[in-house]
């Protein structure tokens, strides 16, 4: 496993963040002046595997 020693700049320098999914994490970081690009993503069909499979066969 990599440690902070392997990547000393991760928490020591300025963070650049891409947040995927829940926007609360992006909001929190923004409130602490951390620049964030938020990607609004959620699992296909709300995470319902049966619906997702149907949709896949229906061409989405």
């Amino acid at each position: 496993m990599a440690s902070n020693k392997d990547n000393p700049s991760l928490l020591g320098g300025k963070l650049s963040v891409i947040n995927v999914g829940l926007d609360k994490f992006a909001t929190e970081l923004t409130e602490h002046d951390v620049p964030v690009v938020h990607l609004d993503w959620r699992p296909p069909a709300g995470g319902d595997p049966e619906l997702a499979a149907l949709l896949s066969k229906m061409g989405t």
């Binding site: 069909a45 997702a52 989405t60």
Partner: protein
């Protein structure tokens, strides 16, 4: 899937080729199919008396008195509750109605013809804001206004429209979008454009200067006058899109204050329903969320054709009015709706979004896959009968309706 893609191409072709014209105003009993005495058409999917919300029951009591079927509101309620009145959905009779959506025999109906396909659709005339029947108002002031619309305004508009050969709506909508309307909660520009188009013909065909003056003043004082015209147009555009085998395009979204319902082209005229949601919005002075009735009305036919919440980017001013955030947020609503639609409308564009065409053709597959529900701009009625409008807001269509539609379409196509 090829069959779905081809069916949706046909659905979009029919939507974009529709040429809608406001041609007449006619008493509902003369023109709405199968409408008869002691029958009330209401907004939304079908619903029985016991499940109707307060404003819907209030409007039914009011219109029953208005039609002379009962002597007072109490008698009217007894009559309605005991099966003395037949109820059905506007959508089953080529019609639509805002909020409670009352349609009865004597009411004057706006007639919009889709010249491309020849079908006609109907909607009652907008009564104005505040205490009105569509929001559940039912006192003497409300009924007197309806009588004036029936006896003076409706006939005057019908005469003028026949004389002038109607008003073409596709170019009027295009112009309204460029003037800041989204045609659901903001119709200021389009109402003005309708008045400009019809005023001369109303003057030409009137022999009563006082009645003419009152009619023109009523239209000019009502910023939402055009909403009901847009609704009849929406119905005229979407009805020919029904029943295309394999199509996943939504042909109607509608709510009765209890249930939200959608119909989808490839699944025939079946309603897919789920409990209706509460709008989030802003309230008139003296009212709060505790006073609000859940979402209601056939007016979501406007979103079904790509206007209203889908065209929010054209109307930054309305974002504040409906509590949807800053004016700069308006474009985001339209971008999000683009993700669940099959096409853009090249003739209805939004100048401030680099002439982006309004999102057109809601695809139930995209709604369920993305988890993005259609956004609707709406008025908010008081939950008790007889009070009227208390605010305006934004509401989302329930995802369960779209999930049911996807499953039904899959079954029809033999997909499991």
């Amino acid at each position: 899937m090829d069959i779905i893609e081809k069916a949706n191409e046909e659905a979009i072709r029919r939507m974009l080729n529709a040429e809608s014209v406001l041609i007449d105003v006619v008493p509902a009993g003369d023109i709405v199919p199968d409408l008869r005495d002691k029958m009330i058409l209401h907004a939304g999917p079908p619903i029985e008396w016991d499940r109707m919300c307060g404003p819907m029951q209030g409007a039914i009591a009011g219109i029953t008195v208005f039609e002379g079927w009962a002597g007072d509101l109490e008698q009217a309620v007894t009559m309605a509750a005991s099966g003395g009145i037949t109820f059905d959905a506007n959508h089953h009779h080529d019609a639509v109605g805002p909020m409670t959506g009352m349609t009865t025999v004597s009411q004057p109906m706006l007639v919009v013809e889709n010249k491309t396909t020849g079908n006609k659709s109907y909607c009652a005339i907008n009564e104005g804001l505040g205490k009105v029947m569509r929001f559940g108002g039912n006192d003497a002031e409300v009924l007197d206004r309806l009588a004036w619309i029936r006896d003076v305004l409706g006939p005057a508009m019908g005469k003028a429209l026949r004389d002038m050969g109607g008003i073409e709506l596709k170019p009027l909508i295009a112009r309204g979008l460029s003037m800041g309307d989204e045609m659901h909660q903001r119709n200021v520009a389009c109402s003005g454009l309708v008045l400009r188009a019809i005023a001369a013909a109303m003057a030409q065909t009137s022999d009563d200067a006082t009645a003419l003056s009152e009619a023109l003043a009523f239209i000019s004082a009502n910023d939402q006058f055009h909403l009901n015209i847009a609704m009849a147009m929406g119905k005229a555009i979407m009805d020919p899109v029904r029943n295309i085998e394999g199509s996943s395009i939504v042909t109607a979204m509608s709510r009765n204050g209890t249930d939200f319902g959608i119909r989808v082209s490839g699944t025939g005229d079946e309603w897919f329903t789920a409990p209706v949601e509460m709008p989030e919005g802003l309230y008139f002075a003296g009212y709060t969320e505790a006073d609000a009735n859940p979402d209601m009305g056939d007016s979501t036919i406007v979103e079904t054709i790509g206007l209203g919440g889908f065209a929010m980017g054209a109307a930054p001013a309305v974002a504040g009015f409906v509590g949807a955030g800053a004016a700069s947020e308006a474009a985001n609503y339209t971008h999000r709706m683009s993700e669940i639609c099959a096409a853009e409308n090249p003739e209805w564009t939004i100048p401030s979004m680099d002439y982006l065409g309004v999102p057109t053709g809601i695809d139930v597959r995209l709604v369920v896959d993305s988890g993005i529900a259609p956004t609707i701009n709406t008025g908010i009625a008081h939950r008790e009968p007889g009070i009227g409008q208390v605010g305006a807001g934004v509401v989302r269509a329930p995802m369960a309706c779209f999930e049911q539609a996807v499953r039904c379409l899959a079954e029809k196509l033999g997909i499991s």
